[in-house]
Symmetry: C3
Subunit: 428 residues, 3 copies
């Protein structure tokens, strides 16, 4: 249960808000690389942390992300012409390069050098993996680029999708670090989804509905360990890393690719869910890629040409009460991603955390909120760089493992929970 002011503190990320300032210390996904597929292609509207921006790729292949609106009279540059290394406003031909610098104001004498003083607010936009990342903070404090493993393995080993979620980012993140709901909400998928089935872990997941949580602080965030009963004398441990502010990984199953998410606030009532799958040591198979594209695993099937799921709020997520009855889909909603989205959106755009009633299995959520809050205060009061900014913090993995009762999971899995190039994930 949170006080209302803490709920606001953690959920509001627009310019000038404390959490907004925190988010402005990280590289964040702004688009999928596929959204800017070619030089001089169509510019794309981007809203992130409540700022309205325009993204484009110029003649030389450079990426730009800047204020959506022309400095002259405020026309949206979504209508701009992307030509000769710049975006040209179609109203009066003002032209900007990828840094937002105005290159040309046709009506002004060239000698006047008028446009030298015109520059749109702009942010860096850098391709790392399948994602175009941006950094909305003070250029002085710009950290090195992200080092998450999924964007650094060879292209053949990784796949990323995204979907629009109609809720605040935090309740989406809280779903991602909540290792207990899988035994309920996703139970119908464990043994049927092509990207989940065939793991011994699924049986442990379904066999023990009272996981015990151990949560450990890490330099970048948390390791959230969920312990369930396994064979005699053994526990099944699932370890979910959270790297601040919003990177998480789902513990692996069998030899399936490993997956995870990054939640990015669009504004206070909407977020993008970037969803990845990768295998540390082998290419994804054609079947795996097909399954991902079809919305299996933690991906979603989107309306063609958009990143909005087919099953969404406006159609009650295509609820199928018969499938619910048969327990084919535990909640009646199809697909792991949409199962999560439907429930998280059903809480309202920003869930009222003054009314919740948390239990032991919410330990990960409680600690994550505490860590976020502490980091916001340390940043606001003392300018302390928050956890997760240092790319060294990104080099984590999720783990699933069976250990004897008397083994401490953190010590036992310290190496497994780190990125080890050329070594497969630790999985059951």
């Amino acid at each position: 249960m949170l006080r209302p002011e803490i709920n606001e503190l953690l959920t509001e990320t627009g310019p000038g808000t404390p959490m907004g300032e925190l988010f402005r210390h990280y590289w964040l996904p702004a688009l999928l690389a596929e959204e800017l597929p070619e030089d001089d292609g169509a510019p794309v509207r981007v809203k992130i942390l409540s700022e309205r921006l325009i993204a484009f790729r110029d003649t030389s292949g450079r990426y730009g992300l800047m204020d959506e609106f022309c400095a002259h009279r405020g026309v949206s540059l979504w209508f701009a012409r992307n030509e000769e290394n710049g975006l040209r406003c179609p109203y009066h031909g003002w032209k900007y390069d990828v840094t937002g610098q105005c290159l040309e104001v046709p009506s002004e004498p060239e000698a006047s050098n008028f446009c030298a003083n015109v520059k749109l607010k702009s942010y860096p936009l850098v391709k790392v993996g399948d994602i175009l990342w941006t950094y909305l903070g003070d250029p002085e404090s710009q950290p090195p680029l992200p080092e998450y493993e999924f964007v650094h393995v060879p292209e053949s080993q990784t796949y990323t999708s995204k979907r629009w979620q109609e809720s605040n980012w935090l309740q989406a993140l809280e779903g991602g670090i909540d290792s207990s709901h899988v035994s309920f909400l996703h139970s119908g998928q464990l043994n049927t989804d092509p990207l989940f089935k065939g793991s011994r872990g699924n049986d442990y997941n379904k066999g023990d509905l009272k996981p015990y949580f151990e949560v450990t602080d890490t330099p970048g965030g948390l390791f959230i360990g969920a312990r369930r009963n396994a064979e005699e004398g053994h526990y099944y441990w699932r370890i979910t890393p959270w790297v601040m502010p919003s990177f998480t990984m789902v513990p692996p199953r069998a030899d399936h690719p490993v997956h995870g998410h990054i939640w990015v606030p669009i504004d206070d009532e909407n977020c993008w869910v970037y969803t990845f799958d990768y295998h540390p040591v082998r290419p994804l198979s054609d079947d795996e890629r097909s399954a991902m594209r079809a919305g299996h695993g933690v991906h979603s099937e989107n309306i063609p040409g958009t990143y909005r799921p087919m099953a969404n709020k406006d159609n009650d997520y295509l609820m199928d009460r018969e499938a619910q009855k048969r327990n084919e889909h535990y909640s009646g909603v199809k697909g792991i991603a949409i199962q999560d989205a439907s429930l998280q959106e059903s809480m309202g755009p920003i869930v009222d955390r003054t009314k919740e009633r948390l239990v032991a299995t919410d330990t990960g959520i409680i600690k994550a909120r505490q860590k976020l809050r502490k980091a916001v205060i340390a940043l606001t009061d003392d300018g302390v760089v928050p956890p997760g900014v240092d790319p060294e913090h990104h080099r984590v993995r999720s783990v699933s493992v069976v250990l004897p009762h008397d083994v401490a999971f953190m010590e036992a899995t310290a190496e497994d929970a780190s990125v080890r190039p050329g070594v497969a994930q630790t999985t059951v």
Copy 2:
């Protein structure tokens, strides 16, 4: 003409408002029984008096109505599994019975008895007739169940429908107790609608456009008498009972079934219109039922699978100017219910009563507002139980009758305006 603060007083019914408190003293229709047709069927979202609730019918056939959102982290229980005498939240399996009592929190040790202390706000939900009634007030003050005649005659003699109206409840009620507009708005229907035609009363209705109103206080509300000229030396009286807060009956015509409405606030800008037809002494014929289902009489034709009328605000109520010209439909809109809805919605979500200009034929409306206001004040200041709570007050009938000039309608119709089992309605 009302002062703005009185308009607010009478129209706002959310928790904590004076009129909301008044409404919370009555049994109110929450759903049609057909909306929960089977044990363990789909739960249904219910919004009433601005509260968001979930209704369901459990394995044993018991009805429940409770807070829509899980006590844990706020997921909508619309997604819940209805199984083994309870509603189970699909996120983490918390389970509630029809009283809102939490029965199970799977992650917690059973010995902890954790869930004993978890209880959702809940209200009784009771089937009487074709309606599931609820009572949102203090359990200490819960009155006996409704005794309106239409819910107590044998099932073969009664039919109930409902429709969503996009306006405040009060302007809808005011249409219901306004016996003068029938001569205009509904005049095209009087002799053609299968549930209206063939009554001598229709000719009186159309022949005298200056009805004289006599309104009499009753223990539960009002009797609103509208007098029109009939044959030499006689008056045609139509008597509309209003039982507080929002039950009314239309005076009967010939041997047609008698009809009426209950208006229930969804929130301050929407209401449900429950619409019934019944005959006190005979079954409804197949033709009558078909006509009701098709939206004749005071019923509406709804979009299949919903309770929204086909003809609605978004399609200008399928206005037909040619039918208006021909006087087939006086306003160009088809069907008595939609004729009312279209005009009442056109006033805006909450009509601004500071601008109105009432006349003698609005006497019923004026007295109803006064009675409501008086009851709210007596309740707020002195805790006086409002009229209409006592089920004895429900035992009223509408009447249509021709009387000699020198006969006082109230004395003459005292018996006719009461429920008399086995005796048909008094009608012309």
Copy 3:
């Protein structure tokens, strides 16, 4: 760049606002005459300067424009019956004539003369040309009717259309007096649009992207002269008259009909764009009329039965990136009117003028704002009748002309810029 309070002053036109008072000194287009095509036809909802009104044409062909809502209980008179020289509310039959005077309240005794004291707010509605004009101000100050040339030439010589624009009126007007954007935004149309092509002026327009502006005060508004290089020793002048508050004309091309606009605030976030084409001395050809109806020139192709353009905000104006690449449509949007609308709407409902950065080619806009502001202050402080009210001010024309370098455009074109019956426009 404007201070926020000046932006509000110039953009808000509801009752009681200073700019709203200014607008209430002029005759304004309320509807096209084609919207009330026959006596006793369907009444039409009109919203203008944030007032909700109903327009109709009675049995005798008189036009009425009055409060949309019945004086009785607030029903929208859009549902009214238009019969026997009045609009009859279908709820209780109250009837009003074109002046808003209540003629009949059927429920009241005729002798009471009740309705003599019931009168809806109403405004004059007068057909001049293809437009029904209204005046929303003090009847004492009502000026003579408009004398714009396009509404006074023979019917065969003129054509008027209208479209809904989802933005404040001022940013639409500013597009209309901005003679510099044609060389960019509309450049694809100059030589292809049937109502534009074949003028030498098009080449000057495209050849000189640095027009020089000279703006001259006129009694009714401004003459905005845009000068571009022509042949050796000559300038090409385009002269755009603006008559307050929102009448403008586009300078002519070759012998094409001359066109212009009147922007009328619906509310602060929407406006009507009335668009006319006329030829001072000859009938429009069938081809010209067909082209206008098809949305060529400055007209738009609307959704049938409405005045909303087919290409609109909800479908991203049917953006065609390929056509943008080919420079067939400079911005990728088809049609001059929609090119303007798309960019002006993209600025947001009310553009934030505190962020703009104006240049020399915005001189016309700057002077227009100054003139509007001055007029508002003079009206508010001293009751000075604003420019453009006197119909003498309406008798202006746009001009396009090639002049030697040493000739002052205003002196040289003084006659050309005035209405001269029987004399063609001055055009290149």
